[in-house]
């Protein structure tokens, strides 16, 4: 077993909100051609039929208002652009047309093609180039937040593709329940009480013991008492606490991107500043879904989790068998045991990828369970999809820990 795995004691996942891979990291291709980002020639038709290319004009706030639609039917349009062929091939040509529906403003709808240059997002892009960046990490469902986050907690959304409240199927335990039952430790750290959690109906309601705050996370890092598994939720709202403004840090449109960058930096710094924790922790930063924003990579087919969403829920007139992933999202794995500048499933010069490794949010409970609970499947308490999903700890492959003296100054 590689020494990085031997040393591993903690897995931390930070799940941000609603940005696509190309929007955040697509500009990195210029400096590393192995990263499957943007060449600049990618385009989508607008409402007049004109082909509009991607442009490095993304701003920190104020561009994506209204919030681009990313409910199931809208994402279906973004991916297939209304194709009725049988079988349909994902063309990734319907992003502008989908956004146009909301304001009927052709000029505004083109902003869905904007992306950031790396210098605008120094935290995420530095981490992506210093550690491991995934060329093929997709959201689990071509749909919105709640059901995608469910895959990170349960390895399934129990047949849900909407934002409606739902109750978890008792046959499938959450990753926190699994670890708790095995006397391991796990926590969901939400930002603060007014921001709270997206996992309210099933976990906060029944199992508040699994929750802590961001402040507590920072203290736990400092004192070296982090649980085996931690899941961090950003601040979802602009609100006051004791008269102090708390900026939303989730990067959900139209929240400020720099506030999210600083949040990511503080999570990294908290782990990095404790040498013992740094040597024994793998931190994954990932986005829950693309938020309706353009990405050029067609989502691949996947193993169904056995559920079927009905046409009344999909809004497309057709059922969904959970046999195709959602749009690609940014994902970065951070550990001193990861080779510098690793690109997972690197792009060849001819634009192909040899045997691409496909990751999705079920990879999170899949990885955590395989690592901490190797005998878990005796109880058959997770989906077949999760059992067979790609896991990521093999990326901690170095024989010796790297000396990484990278820090973020957030003063």
């Amino acid at each position: 077993m590689p020494p990085g795995i031997d040393a591993l004691e903690h897995i931390v996942v930070l799940m941000m909100e609603n940005r696509s891979f190309d929007h955040m990291l697509g500009g990195l291709t210029v400096q590393n051609a192995q990263i499957d980002g943007l060449s600049g020639s990618e385009e989508n038709p607008d409402s007049t039929g004109a082909l509009i290319p991607v442009q490095a004009l993304a701003d920190f706030q104020g561009q994506l208002d209204p919030d681009p639609n990313h409910h199931f039917a809208a994402v279906d349009q973004q991916i297939f652009n209304g194709s009725t062929a049988n079988p349909r091939q994902p063309s990734m040509q319907g992003f502008i047309n989908s956004y146009f529906q909301q304001r009927k403003d052709t000029k505004h709808s083109r902003k869905i093609m904007y992306y950031f240059t790396p210098d605008r997002l120094p935290v995420l892009t530095t981490l992506a180039t210093e550690f491991a960046v995934f060329n093929r990490w997709f959201s689990s469902i071509p749909g919105p937040t709640i059901c995608n986050r469910a895959f990170a907690h349960y390895g399934t959304s129990f047949g849900r593709v909407t934002m409606d409240p739902f109750y978890a199927h008792p046959a499938f335990k959450s990753i926190y329940q699994r670890l708790g039952a095995a006397k391991r430790t796990a926590k969901i750290y939400y930002y603060d009480v007014p921001s709270s959690t997206m996992e309210v109906v099933n976990l906060l309601q029944d199992q508040p013991q699994f929750f802590g705050t961001y402040k507590q996370f920072l203290e736990d890092c400092k004192s070296g008492v982090l649980p085996d598994y931690s899941f961090i939720e950003p601040n979802y709202t602009d609100h006051d606490v004791d008269g102090e403004p708390q900026l939303a840090t989730d990067q959900h449109p139209d929240h400020n991107m720099q506030a999210g960058e600083r949040f990511i930096a503080t999570i990294y710094n908290a782990i990095h500043d404790n040498p013992k924790l740094w040597a024994s922790t793998a931190l994954l930063i990932v986005y829950d879904e693309h938020g309706g924003i353009y990405d050029h990579v067609p989502p691949p087919a996947c193993l169904s989790d056995g559920f079927v969403a009905q046409p009344k829920d999909t809004g497309t007139g057709f059922p969904f068998n959970f046999d195709r992933l959602g749009v690609r999202v940014p994902a970065v794995l951070i550990s001193p045991w990861v080779p510098k500048g690793l690109v997972v499933s690197p792009l060849n010069p001819d634009g192909t990828i040899d045997n691409p490794r496909i990751f999705e949010h079920a990879s999170i409970p899949g990885t955590v369970t395989n690592f901490f609970l190797p005998d878990f499947d005796k109880n058959n308490q997770r989906s077949e999809r999760e059992k067979k999903v790609e896991t990521f700890l093999d990326l901690l492959s170095l024989n010796q820990m790297r000396d990484v003296d990278l820090a973020f100054d957030t003063d």
Partner: protein, 170 residues
């Protein structure tokens, strides 16, 4: 045998000395390595402008440290104007409020917050409501605190289950 190595003369130190061809080569090698660093780790310095050994050593120090991964990335602060607690809730926040309300409606009427979520429209309003219900679920909401077990029993489906359990115990 001890051989005395004479100290150089004081005047021999000259950081303003013009760089040799050797140092010029080192600079061009450093510059080549710098080009492979992420853009925000690059100095933006043109090596043609480096004329003296002092300037060269400063440039070489910066690039060597960065190649060793020793760098601090300054993270800009958002402007004050970024904060807007009166921003209208997104669909995500609406859903979050609905989920909290879904839980609250399973509690006995006297334990509920009395909030009409139709009137919750801004981020600040959402945070206030979500914060209130979260505190109650954690059992830290003061007088309105609702014990979770008791609260769950108010849900029609769960009430039947809870009743069955209680009957069994008796």
């Amino acid at each position: 045998m001890k051989v005395l190595a004479p100290k150089p003369a004081k005047g021999s130190f000259n950081k303003d000395r013009r760089i040799s061809d050797l140092v010029k080569s080192q600079l061009s090698h450093m510059h080549e390595a710098e080009r492979k660093l992420p853009p925000h780790h690059q100095t933006g310095q043109k090596i043609e402008s480096i004329k003296t050994e002092g300037q060269a050593s400063e440039y070489i120090r910066q690039i060597t440290e960065r190649l060793h991964g020793k760098y601090v990335v300054k993270v800009p602060k958002p402007p004050r104007s970024a904060f807007n607690k009166r921003r209208q809730m997104s669909d995500l926040l609406k859903s979050q409020v609905e989920h909290f309300n879904h839980v609250e409606m399973t509690w006995p009427p006297e334990k509920r917050s009395g909030t009409d979520i139709a009137k919750v429209t801004t981020e600040h309003g959402a945070a206030a409501y979500i914060g209130k219900i979260t505190a109650m679920m954690h059992g830290t909401g003061g007088e309105k605190m609702t014990p979770v077990r008791e609260a769950l029993a108010a849900s029609p489906k769960r009430a039947v289950k809870a009743k069955k359990k209680l009957t069994k115990k008796r």
